[in-house]
């Protein structure tokens, strides 16, 4: 008889087998199983968003209440959250959708969220520079090889490279298509087999850490 962890392991095995079978049988009802389960997942994920919001607001509310360090920022977050939700509801009632061109919700999105996202993304350029500086320091043979390859690839991708030598862009292309691609595909094969191994271990009930 199934007891304790046996029940979820059996459910996992059953669902795993059904998903494998449905991959090969497009006929109804098998063909729709993946779509149906993804719909179920979306519904469950929708409900768990409430848990997420509860976690976020709860944490910042406690910070404000206890007057923790930087509590003012938590207040800004709570205010921003409430204001966005309220504006979203009002504009949905007004225009039928919150994303109408004249909606204040669209204004918040375009003039608050998008610039903030862009700012964060643009920071990447500086982080790449600092990480590249450390990675390209010629400490040993491997790092020197990396440095030389990086210089060739970078030069080959800008007009200056072609000015130096017409072979530089071609050599860059070769580096990207042959040694780089070979390493990438090797890693890719390992990842695919690893994912397969994890899946089989989970389906067969050998891997149980997800049942914690």
């Amino acid at each position: 008889m199934l007891k304790g962890k046996g029940i979820p392991i059996f459910i996992t095995f059953l669902v795993g087998m059904i998903m494998i079978v449905s991959f090969f049988i497009p006929h109804k009802p098998f063909g729709d199983i993946e779509k149906i389960s993804l719909n179920w997942y979306s519904i469950i994920a929708g409900f768990t968003m409430l848990l997420g919001v509860d976690s976020l607001i709860g944490m910042h509310f406690r910070k404000v209440k206890r007057k923790d360090e930087n509590w003012f920022f938590s207040l800004v977050l709570i205010f921003g959250f409430v204001a966005t939700v309220v504006v979203g509801i009002i504009e949905t009632v007004r225009f039928g959708t919150a994303f109408d061109d004249k909606s204040y919700f669209t204004y918040i999105y375009n003039y608050f969220i998008v610039p903030l996202q862009t700012t964060m993304f643009s920071l990447l350029a500086f982080f790449i520079a600092s990480a590249a500086y450390r990675a390209f320091r010629a400490r040993n043979f491997d790092a020197t090889l990396l440095l030389i390859t990086a210089i060739i690839v970078m030069l080959g991708r800008v007009p200056l490279g072609e000015q130096i030598s017409p072979y530089l862009p071609k050599f860059t292309e070769w580096i990207m298509q042959v040694p780089q691609m070979a390493a990438k595909r090797g890693i890719g094969l390992g990842i695919s087999l690893g994912a397969l191994g994890v899946s089989i271990r989970i389906i067969l009930g050998i891997e149980r850490s997800y049942l914690s």
Binding site: L51, G58, L116, F121, A135, L193, G197, I200, S209
Partner: protein, 429 residues
């Protein structure tokens, strides 16, 4: 006055006549200069039914023309399949969708007709044609206003059917059987007590060092699961490693922070950490609020986690899961606060960033093998050995393919060229 009135009546009458003539539908039966243009159709193979594919060949002169495809069933119900397709597209699919689940019914006869036109279809003409019924859809030419439309001949009855097996996936099935066989063989070997070896993974050996160092410094540990969902394999692998790390954290009586991108991942992570603390005998140390939701916006999440890193200054940062453009933003911030960093992801594009910014990086499959490495159970080791054997098999296939292509295409040996092509076709899905 009479003259003017007569002139006005004449004008109104001519306008009326002209407009009548403009709206009239002139049909010239069997007078179609494009008799060779024919539609053909077939059931879409290997699908779950509810789909028909319509194809056509066209002379170069019709490349920029438009085609509207109509459909008739046995009860003579007409339906527009698609309007104003470029003739050069050569194909259209008539399929049921989520919005129209019974658009194409299985085991029903459908007949398709095309309307060729130099300009986009006139909607008035199309409505008139449909309202007049299927007998108007004869091979010939229609003149409507200033436009000319050429009706193609009707296809034979096409029936949509649901397939019981997707034949295009036979190579996958064969691979699955081989893989299952190899896995079962090694699992049995492991069961019988044979010693199986797993190589050293420095990143996982460093877990204890990282947690210990962080505890000594009196700082918390931060575990970042990336921006994947619980349905992603790297996230599942990340959660597995989290369980082991959390157990060490409980043993060392320190604190673990898990900022999450997805509420489902957050809930799962809470359960994983809670269980690990309970297993370690320290459920009292578990604090649900340390595993918190940040946001489901990629850069918002990066900003939130970075801010938390700068404020909390964790001694060890684990980046295990699915990462994209935010990977380096997180890893560099971790580096700037002097934390020992252990990263792992399956995203090959992000691996160089992690290698550059972190102390240890689990590269792809190492991350998948982490739970096996940390537990070292014989059955789990068996699955790793099976993976390795499959890797050898794939390497063998690559070498064969390389030799065949060099000899077949490089040295132009026809037999080997054919064998290479056959191998490629066999392995293609």
């Amino acid at each position: 006055m009479l003259k003017k009135t007569l002139l006005l009546i004449f004008l109104v009458f001519s306008v009326f006549l002209f407009s009548q003539e403009n709206d009239s539908l002139i049909f010239l039966e069997n007078q179609n200069p494009f008799l060779d243009f024919k539609l053909t159709g077939n059931d879409i193979p290997n699908d779950g039914g509810g789909g028909i594919q319509i194809n056509w060949c066209f002379p170069d002169s019709l490349g920029n023309w438009f085609l509207t495809v109509l459909r008739r069933d046995d009860s003579n119900n007409l339906m527009v399949v698609a309007t104003d397709l470029l003739v050069s597209s050569m194909q259209v699919r008539d399929v049921s969708s989520e919005e129209e689940p019974s658009r194409v019914k299985d085991n029903t006869n459908y007949y398709y007709t095309g309307i060729l036109s130099q300009n986009m279809i006139n909607e008035q003409f199309l409505n008139k044609l449909i309202s007049n019924g299927s007998e108007y859809l004869k091979n010939g030419t229609y003149i409507f206003g200033n436009d000319t439309f050429y009706i193609t001949g009707e296809t034979e009855a096409i029936v949509s059917k649901s397939s019981w097996f997707n034949l295009s996936r036979i190579p996958v099935l064969v691979s699955l059987i081989i893989i299952a066989f190899v896995f079962l063989y090694y699992l049995n070997l492991a069961k019988s007590g044979k010693d199986l070896y797993i190589r050293k993974i420095n990143g996982l050996d460093a877990v204890e060092e990282a947690v210990g160092r962080s505890t000594e410094m009196g700082k918390p540990i931060m575990y970042i699961l990336g921006i994947g969902y619980v349905t992603d394999i790297p996230t599942i692998a990340g959660l597995t490693i989290l369980g082991r790390v959390a157990k060490k954290v409980a043993d060392y009586e320190t604190r673990i922070l898990v900022p999450s991108y997805d509420p489902v991942v957050m809930t799962t992570a809470q359960e994983v950490v809670k269980e690990a603390f309970t297993e370690a005998g320290r459920p009292d140390l578990y604090n649900k609020n340390d595993i918190m939701y940040i946001t489901q916006d990629q850069f918002g999440y990066a900003a939130g986690v970075d801010g938390m890193m700068m404020r909390e200054k964790p001694g060890a940062v684990f980046l295990q899961g699915l990462f994209f453009a935010e990977s380096l933003i997180l890893a560099e911030t971790g580096h700037s606060i002097g934390a020992i960093q252990i990263s792992g992801t399956t995203e090959t594009a992000q691996l160089p960033f992690f290698v550059a910014a972190c102390d240890y990086t689990l590269i792809g499959e190492e991350m998948m093998a982490a739970s096996v490495y940390l537990q070292k159970e014989p059955m789990m080791l068996g699955s790793i050995a099976a993976e390795d054997l499959l890797k050898v098999f794939i390497m063998f296939l690559i070498i064969i393919g390389f030799v065949l292509s060099v000899l077949g295409y490089g040295f132009k040996i026809e037999v080997l060229k054919s064998v290479f092509d056959w191998l490629i076709n066999l392995l293609q899905v």
